[in-house]
Structure formats: structure tokens, C-alpha cells
């Protein structure tokens, strides 16, 4: 039940890629996806790039993660973080 982090590929290094997102920089294994290119948005979990994401999906995930971070800091009105989602995953 691991939370994922959306990241953007900045540099491809063989089957690995340096990726950045939510203030982090990580070297992810991209074998799960096959080919990746700089600029691709990916879902990062346990050092792996697990899924390619659209820009729209990245925005939705980041908003949901912001909502979770706000809840963890004690915020109770979370409606702004959870608008109706636009499309099924």
C-alpha cells in the first residue's frame, strides 16, 4: 500500500533515469515501462518508474498528495484538494 510520487524524467541513464518531483531527485529503474525520455512524467515507487502519467494526471495526484499532507498537519477542510476527478485511471 505504498504511496507513489509523480516525477519527471530529466536524464536517461540506460535502464535507469534521473527523475525529479515534489522536491526530490531520484534515480529510478525504468524497466517496468520500457523506454522513457526526458520530459516524461512517471509514477515513482520503491525506486521504480511504474507508470507513465499525463500532465493532467500528475496535477490530480499532486493535489491529492497535497491534501494528504495538509490532513497530516491537522487541516480539516480538505474539499479544495479533492475536486471531482476528470477521468478514470
Amino acid at each position: 500500500m505504498c504511496l507513489g510520487i509523480p516525477m519527471q524524467v530529466v536524464e536517461v541513464d540506460g535502464v535507469f533515469a534521473w527523475c525529479e518531483g515534489r522536491g526530490r531527485r531520484e534515480r529510478l529503474n525504468t524497466l517496468w515501462l520500457g523506454e522513457t525520455s526526458p520530459g516524461d512524467c512517471v509514477y515513482a515507487v520503491l525506486g521504480q518508474a511504474r507508470e507513465k502519467l499525463t500532465v493532467q494526471r500528475v496535477a490530480e495526484i499532486n493535489l491529492a498528495l497535497d491534501g494528504l499532507a495538509a490532513a497530516l498537519q491537522g487541516e480539516t477542510n480538505l474539499d479544495a484538494y479533492f475536486p471531482d476527478l476528470t477521468m478514470p485511471r
Binding site: 500500500m1 505504498c2 504511496l3 507513489g4 494526471r57
Partner: protein
């Protein structure tokens, strides 16, 4: 900068005395996602969950959708869900072809993994069957046989359960149960090893038994012997009016969702993930490590790494020495 937080980790702390591991503390720290689901509309919560959980996205999505349908009165008898099953196969392939070989001082089977992922996606069972019977996989099995650990496999593994049968074991889930699940008062292991339930418990180490069970599940699919109860099995049942529960057999083990509705909004959302079973503070990891020889710290560290890899937490882990 976007607000950030720790996405979770398993902490393992060993206390050694007189050359043995005398105490093992395992803590599983993760944000409580239920806190953002309460108060959402039911449909929104079901869409939200797979957005947040990247690792078993298909399993989480099915668990959420089925639990919601069950809360609205719809039963789902146990069946293999093709999308969840494919996700399980792909997870097993990653673990068995990329993660396992280095643990056995062998090179990762990268090209085989790329081919096998394609076969799993295409439903090409024959080619996967050939790979699983190839000399390179035979070498892995031989290396697994050579691993000797003093502890036998623990006998306490979760039985095969579906949503309806789970009601007899756990009439309702609770927040405490989600953190510290138990089966008949004790922790129990979950995963392919529990689903297979045919390990020779007297002679097989936990490490090799867990890996063999993953290979067996892959082989069952490759030979067309995959049946309800295997990874990818889903079921759901109404618990009471407005309350529904789903069970999904993921790569790591049993995932349970229970949704409590207040009209069309989420009053409570309870999730029990496989990592809570396998990394329970009194669970099978602790059983494996207690009493181990602590004379050679590097060797012990390797043993911990192997045990953790066999049980496969869904979050990063770290080892501390008390």
C-alpha cells in the same frame, strides 16, 4: 515547494546479546490515507485510491470498486480478475527475475524480464512456461536449495479466505485491526506462500519458500493451472446495510477494504494491506530473526535483508541496531 511528507517505511530494530538476536522490534509507519477519504463522496473516494497507491494500482482500484458495490448491496463471488492477475504476474516477474538473482549472487535476468513482461501482457503462456523451465531459472532454484537457514517456515499462514468467509473471522474491521491485524488472536503470514499452502515446513527456509511460491504461481499461470484463490482473486460482500468489504489477493498478499457509507458519502474507510500482516510487530519476520546468530554482524545483516526481501514490504525499510 509542494508540501511533503514521509510516504512510509518499515523500521526493524535488532537487540543482540550473548551473540544472539535477543529482541526484534518492527514498526510500520505510513500516513493514514483514510483520513482524506472520510467525507468524500463514495464515487470520488473510489477514484482517488488508485491515484495515490502506485504499487498495486489495479488491486487497489478493484478493491475500492468492489467494496463500494458491496456497501450498496452487491455481492461478488470469488473470481480471478484478469487485470489484477496480470498485475500480480508482473510483480512476481520483477521480483523473481530482477530482485532475486542478486540475492543469490547471480546477475539479474534483465532481457528475460523484458520478454516475460510482454508475454504476460499478451497472455502468451507457452513462452513463459519455456522460460520458467530454462537452465537459468533452474540455476536460481538450485541456489535457493543451497540457502540454509536454521529456522523452518513458520506454520502460521493465513488460510484462503474470500469476503463472505472473512465475516466469520472478522465481523467488522477497525482502525486498530488495520494497524495490527490478527487471525484468531495471532499474527499470520500472507502472500503467495500462504496461497500455495504446500510448502514442506520441516525442511524449507522462509526465504526459499517465499520465492518458490512466487515461481509456482507463475508456473500455474504458464501451464493454465491458475485457479480461484491464486493471486488476482477478488471477492466482496455486504457486511451490513451501507457497509461493504472486498478481499483481493495481490502479489504481496491479502488486501482488504471495508467501506462504511453515510448516504453517498464515506463515513469510514478501512484498509488492511499485506505489509501489516508480514511486518507485524509479532509476526513471521520477528519469528525468523529472534535467536539468530549475531556473532557476524555482516552475515546477520544479509540474513535480515534476505528475510525482508522474501516478505517484500510495499514501502522502503531500514535496519537499526539497539
Amino acid at each position: 515547494m509542494m508540501p511533503n511528507f514521509d510516504t512510509g517505511r518499515v523500521r526493524i530494530q535488532l537487540t543482540c546479546a550473548d551473540g544472539r538476536v535477543g529482541a526484534v522490534q518492527v514498526s510500520n509507519e505510513r500516513p493514514d490515507v483514510a483520513m482524506v477519504l472520510r467525507g468524500r463522496t463514495a464515487d470520488q473516494a473510489v477514484q482517488l485510491l488508485p491515484l495515490l497507491f502506485a504499487l498495486c494500482g489495479q488491486a487497489q482500484a478493484r478493491a475500492a470498486a468492489l467494496a463500494l458495490a458491496a456497501a450498496r448491496g452487491e455481492e461478488c463471488v470469488p473470481r480471478l480478475d484478469p487485470n489484477v492477475q496480470r498485475e500480480v504476474l508482473r510483480e512476481h516477474l520483477w521480483r523473481c527475475l530482477l530482485d532475486l538473482p542478486p540475492l543469490l549472487e547471480e546477475a539479474a535476468l534483465q532481457q528475460e524480464f523484458i520478454s516475460a513482461m510482454k508475454w504476460a501482457a499478451e497472455g502468451n503462456r507457452a513462452d513463459l512456461h519455456a522460460l520458467l523451465n530454462s537452465p537459468r531459472i533452474a540455476t536460481l532454484h538450485q541456489r535457493l536449495q543451497q540457502i540454509e537457514e536454521s529456522h523452518p517456515v513458520p506454520s502460521r499462514l493465513l488460510p484462503r479466505l474470500d469476503a463472505r468467509r472473512s465475516l466469520a473471522e472478522w465481523p467488522r474491521l477497525s482502525a486498530k485491526f488495520c494497524r495490527l491485524p490478527d487471525w484468531r488472536g495471532m499474527p499470520a503470514g500472507t502472500g503467495a506462500i500462504a496461497r500455495q499452502q504446500q510448502i514442506d515446513k520441516k525442511t524449507t527456509s522462509l526465504f526459499s519458500a517465499c520465492w518458490r511460491a512466487r515461481f509456482d504461481e507463475l508456473l500455474d499461470w504458464a501451464t493454465g493451472d491458475d485457479k480461484v484463490g491464486a493471486g488476482g482473486t477478488v471477492s466482496a460482500t455486504p457486511v451490513a446495510p451501507g457497509i461493504g468489504r472486498s478481499l483481493v489477493e495481490t502479489a504481496r498478499g491479502l488486501l482488504m477494504h471495508e467501506i462504511v457509507l453515510d448516504g453517498e458519502r464515506i463515513a469510514d474507510y478501512l484498509i488492511v494491506a499485506p505489509t501489516e500482516w508480514n511486518f507485524h510487530p509479532h509476526g513471521i519476520l520477528v519469528d525468523q530473526l529472534l535467536g539468530q546468530d549475531a556473532g557476524d554482524r555482516a552475515a546477520l545483516q544479509q540474513q535480515v535483508a534476505r528475510a525482508v526481501a522474501a516478505l517484500d514490504p510495499c514501502v522502503p525499510w531500514g535496519l537499526e541496531w539497539a
